[in-house]
């Protein structure tokens, strides 16, 4: 592998994927929190919250991620001057994380909501009967069962998030796809090799993730 035997290129390759992992980690955590809140809103008895949750999901799920990321830079940062870090690279990174999180949260919310539908209505009714409030019902009875039912789909969301994080490259973060572009630009004769290595790395990271979530889903499934 002549391209990757050059230490500078290899370092660039590693740093590109490190950015991808960091973005995936940060966005996954944020998106999970946001997604749970949104799912709670969507099934809540308060109309305004239901409306807010539905609006969020419909807006962000149906907008191309490229536009959302772009808006984060030219809308949030450039126009509204919301700066997330003084360091230019970290600022781009966090702007990207914000974009990825609000987008992915919509998918997490919908996955959880489908999980809520798998919990028999009798459970919520029984919870109400023993005097639990709505938020207690959701927190103690419904969401734990709903979450365990949708581990596999959440795994798919995570995998999609990891690949989507390459889009943050459009606002200048030197993540894997930008590094790939740079390497291809400098080594035009080895385009196919470079492409295969980058595609292969993504597959090598994500295939085990898929299997892990499959295994976890089986293990934690609610036995009814």
């Amino acid at each position: 592998m002549p391209v990757f035997s050059d230490p500078a290129n290899f370092d660039a390759y590693v740093s590109g994927f490190m950015w991808i992992l960091k973005m995936t980690g940060a966005s996954a955590a944020l998106a999970l929190v946001l997604g749970v809140l949104l799912a709670g809103m969507r099934v809540s008895p308060v109309p305004v919250l239901r409306w807010f949750g539905a609006a969020w999901v419909n807006i962000f799920r149906n907008t191309p991620l490229t536009l959302i990321i772009f808006f984060c830079y030219f809308g949030l940062y450039a126009t509204l001057t919301i700066s997330l870090s003084d360091d230019l690279i970290l600022n781009n990174f966090w702007l990207g994380v914000v974009g990825l999180s609000v987008y992915t949260a919509a998918f997490v919310c919908e996955a959880l909501r489908s999980g809520i539908n798998t919990v028999p209505p009798g459970q919520a009714e029984a919870a109400r009967a023993i005097g639990l409030t709505f938020s207690q019902t959701l927190r103690i009875v419904v969401l734990p069962q709903a979450g365990r039912a949708v581990i596999a789909p959440l795994g798919s969301v995570l995998i999609a998030l990891c690949k989507n994080s390459t889009i943050v490259g459009t606002i200048g973060l030197l993540e894997a796809s930008n590094i790939m572009k740079q390497l291809i630009n400098d080594n035009g004769d080895q385009v196919i090799l470079i492409f295969l290595v980058f595609a292969g790395t993504f597959a090598a990271v994500l295939i085990p993730v898929g299997y892990f979530f499959g295994w976890l889903a089986n293990r934690l499934a609610v036995k009814r």
């Binding site: 450039a78 230019l88 690279i89 200048g172 291809i184 630009n185 035009g188 385009v191």
Partner: protein, 295 residues
């Protein structure tokens, strides 16, 4: 039922064979045609010259650089486009036979190597690294890397970039030079200069860097009139060449001859005056002694 199916299969097979025969007929026709063309030519034509003789030439150009290569609707305009027309004319083909293909800095070598385009005239700096992958005719213009800053900026030289935010394009020579020589600068990368200009207008970056002539093109755009200035201290020499396939020496020599002729008969000056010259910059002399040897 069974019979119908067999008949249908047979019919399909016959049809396929007939069409295949047609196909090979066509191939034969084209083969003979180009064969004759080569025979009547003075030299054995290959690469770009052969493409020009067939009447169409795919030229990679920039689409977002005012004055050099700018796409407006489906048409392209600018100095690079005028150069493409001069070359097409010199190769004896119609201007209408040029197919413009939008290229960005990062895909120029791959496009040439993979044959997506025949020629690249896209503010393409000649350097040794690129010479190992593609062949260059020209240079048809010598630019220099410079800085574009807001009119009230205090930056007057690249040495003052420490701690400042500089914008350029992913994979371009100017970006690399900033990374290597001015490590104190923070580099914001986008995939197109137009985004850098937007960021400069909004104050998110302190300077945009690339070749002076590209910057001048942006500074003279109407919506930015009076807002930006080019610092005017070029810190590199960027000879713009015309990229073509590595093994296509004959076409490269031919293009250099066309450039010489264009400098002599005034069509080079006319191309300048119609595009970049509009900003008031007088046409540069095309130094024909500096043309590449196409090796």
């Amino acid at each position: 039922m069974r019979m119908t199916r067999v008949a249908a299969t047979a019919a399909a097979a016959v049809l396929a064979l007939t069409m295949a025969a047609c196909g090979s007929d066509d191939d034969g026709g084209t083969g003979t045609g180009s064969g004759t063309g080569t025979g009547t030519g003075d030299t054995a034509a290959t690469g770009v010259i052969a493409k020009a003789q067939s009447g169409t030439l795919k030229v990679g150009v920039k689409a977002d650089q005012p004055g050099l290569g700018l796409q407006t609707g489906t048409a392209y305009e600018g100095f690079d486009i005028e150069m493409a027309k001069i070359i097409a004319k010199g190769l004896g083909m119609q201007e209408s036979g040029i197919q413009y293909v939008t290229t960005v800095s990062a895909n120029r070598e791959p496009y040439i190597q993979q044959g997506t385009v025949d020629l690249v005239i896209a503010t393409y700096t000649i350097n040794d690294e690129r010479k190992t992958k593609v062949n260059f005719a020209g240079p048809y213009f010598v630019a220099g890397q410079d800085l574009l800053v807001p009119t009230d900026s205090t930056i007057t030289a690249p040495e003052q970039l420490d701690g400042k935010k500089v914008c350029s394009v992913t994979g371009s020579t100017p970006a690399k030079r900033i990374q290597e020589n001015y490590k104190g600068a923070q580099l914001q990368l986008f995939d197109a200069y137009s985004k850098c200009i937007t960021a400069l207008a909004g104050g998110q970056v302190d300077a945009v860097t690339t070749d002076d002539i590209i910057l001048a093109g942006y500074a003279s755009q109407q919506q930015f009139a009076g807002k930006f200035k080019v610092v005017g201290k070029p810190f590199s020499e960027e000879p713009y060449g015309i990229g073509l396939a590595k093994d296509d020496k004959a076409s490269c020599d031919k293009i250099n001859e066309i450039l010489k002729a264009a400098a002599a008969d005034g069509s080079y000056k006319a191309a300048w005056d119609n595009t970049l010259g509009k900003s008031g910059t007088p046409a540069p002399e095309l130094d024909t002694s500096k043309l590449t040897n196409c090796a």
